[in-house]
Symmetry: C3
Subunit: 278 residues, 3 copies
């Protein structure tokens, strides 16, 4: 698989694989997102499990096919849970995904991100532009990486993070960018601005990435597929809501519907994917 | 009330009693289910209260008509809350319901279940087949009960648990089974497979059982009525969603609607109930 | 701005200001309400952030335009978070709103409310009648205020609380009352009884008050505007659900839709506002 050959059929195959294999995704996520993330995973065909007790985090990682950690409503107990889980995932060799929610908002968030990155490099990091910039900044400050690495913009920061972790970094926004250490770079321009008016849709993207990495060992491709599914589902849901004179409340239900009922023809027709090298 | 005489009208009477009395149900539940459980209780006509602080758990049990504990996202603090609450419910004599979410997934869950069963026998335990088997196994291992009691299948495990606790055990699935120490056995075959694609629907069943036990002192009948209401509402919601070309996102709202708006004629017509002795 | 001149256009201007400025509202709220509150804030055009770690609470207050604290699922850690945040908000001079959920239900709730009121007087307190009475009682007991101040009914209690805190007090119910220390008193009679059948709608009112206080420095007017928006949106959502043969599940989505899509004509036509002196 090289960047040049990633097709809409490849991504659809990954969507089908998640539905068929129903991977168990262990999430340690925030209190706002926890319900929607479970429902997003179920709608996409995966199996969610949420567990944060130190007494069982490693055991739960031991039966999961992927781990997702999200610092949205972090506190010391939960941060330790995430650290334990990331280390266990690294030992077991299952994919791990980090969502650095609110990176840069407070020093505690940045310290936590640095600590989690030190614990084990996640397979994938997903955030919006400013979160990725802050995360790269934390990594750079903490690790002494050359700060000329381009952290002054999100793509530069993403590249610095890729080099730091060796994994995949996804910068989501109007266009979603997915970069990996092989310098592959996918760009997705699906989605709808109303997706930013429903809480935890970004966190749900991260949860989906976990499910897709469990079903597709090329994590760059898996991340692209997850973001593609959510982007297409999101724009369909927004269009359906607007056509019915409805708003973001109705759209949330329609988003889950679209994740569940998405068919290959619709997906491939709507997909707006570009692939390049960086 | 014997098994042979449980009718759809009896169950409807219990649904009506919950609506009329609006029992206060104190839930110590998981972070994924907490919002939906509150909404399910409200839709069915009950009054939810969620409280887990050790400082107030006993006081809250003191004003509630039923207690529901659910270990889905357990940690040591919350486990202690559940233990305090179960003991307080036993002292006060109000019904208590245990949902052993994820039993068998980790040793910590099994230890917790054993600890909660030691604290006080719940009036009702509800889980899926594997949870009931693991819960019975925990009980058996912990208590030295004869392991030939049939824990190798869910119904056998349910019977072992009934004998251990003296209470009611509900094994939910494609068919829901409700057994009690008087050897009464109800079987419900309502519901829809999409109910497993919405997170916390099982937990919501447990919450409803709490409400029904508060309104109907025969806990076997109450549990049967709660499962019947949810099963009928769930299949109606799934059918309505599918008829509109919608999926599990829309179905969640329709499920709450059906719980609230269920009428006697629809309920009794759709109910698929069998009653036997075990 | 005096009581006599508060018009529907004034309130609409505040709704528009929230949409335009999108204030960052820091909420330390309960686990049942946390997702809906975020969605309500987003639907109304505000930006929610939830954070409770002691390590970052002050920093998050430092970048927010308003603070909302809600004791619905309190425990000692979260109570300390709320106390730290209220003090930080007072120092910074941003508006703070307290929702004393379940006041009077347990001694721990009452002690907590007394402790929070001692930490810093909130700009606004919102609760239902019994919560306001218990809150006033806690304040009175704790502070030795003359207990003849009229705490035997909700309006009397609200007045006592206004005098204690110097801020705004909102008693919500079939009619919402908003009182301030300048003896201004607005009464809103919008809304629908089904709003009490969806969990956390009251908590969402409190969240909205935070957003409005960030956009309108007259907190009595801001509170009135927030309650007016929610009341009008709630009655529209209930009417739409009922017209479609739906219930409270569908209504929740429609409520978010209405908050987002509300237009000036509909709002001003439906508004039922009275203004007086107390």
């Amino acid at each position: 698989m090289t960047a040049a050959t990633l097709t809409s059929s490849d991504l659809w195959a990954d969507i089908a694989a998640v539905r068929e294999r129903s991977p168990l995704v262990h999430s340690i996520t925030n209190l706002v997102a926890i319900n929607l993330n479970a429902n997003v995973l179920l709608a996409a065909g995966a199996s969610p499990v949420m567990a944060h007790a130190h007494e069982e985090v490693r055991d739960m990682v031991g039966i999961a096919q992927a781990l997702v950690v999200n610092i949205g409503t972090l506190d010391p107990y939960w941060v330790s849970s995430m650290e334990l889980a990331l280390k266990a995932a690294a030992v077991r060799g299952i994919p791990s995904v980090l969502d650095p929610v609110g990176a840069g908002a407070t020093p505690y968030r940045d310290q936590t991100i640095a600590r989690l990155l030190d614990a084990a490099a996640p397979s994938v990091i997903r955030g919006n532009g400013s979160e990725i910039m802050s995360t790269a900044g934390s990594a750079i400050k903490t690790r002494g990486v050359d700060s000329s690495a381009g952290a002054n913009d999100a793509l530069g920061a993403a590249k610095a993070l890729v080099q730091r972790t060796g994994g995949v970094v996804c910068v989501s926004g109007e266009t979603d960018h997915v970069l990996d250490a092989g310098r592959r770079w996918s760009r997705l321009s699906n989605g709808h601005v109303w997706m930013t008016r429903i809480t935890a849709v970004g966190c749900s993207a991260t949860a989906l990435i976990g499910a897709f990495c469990a079903a597709q060992s090329d994590h760059w491709r898996a991340t692209t597929a997850a973001m593609a599914l959510l982007g297409v589902a999101g724009e369909m849901a927004a269009e359906q809501a607007q056509a019915a004179g409805r708003g973001v409340g109705s759209m949330q239900a329609l988003l889950l519907d679209a994740l569940q009922l998405m068919d290959q023809g619709t997906f491939e027709q709507r997909l707006r994917l570009e692939v390049a090298q960086w």
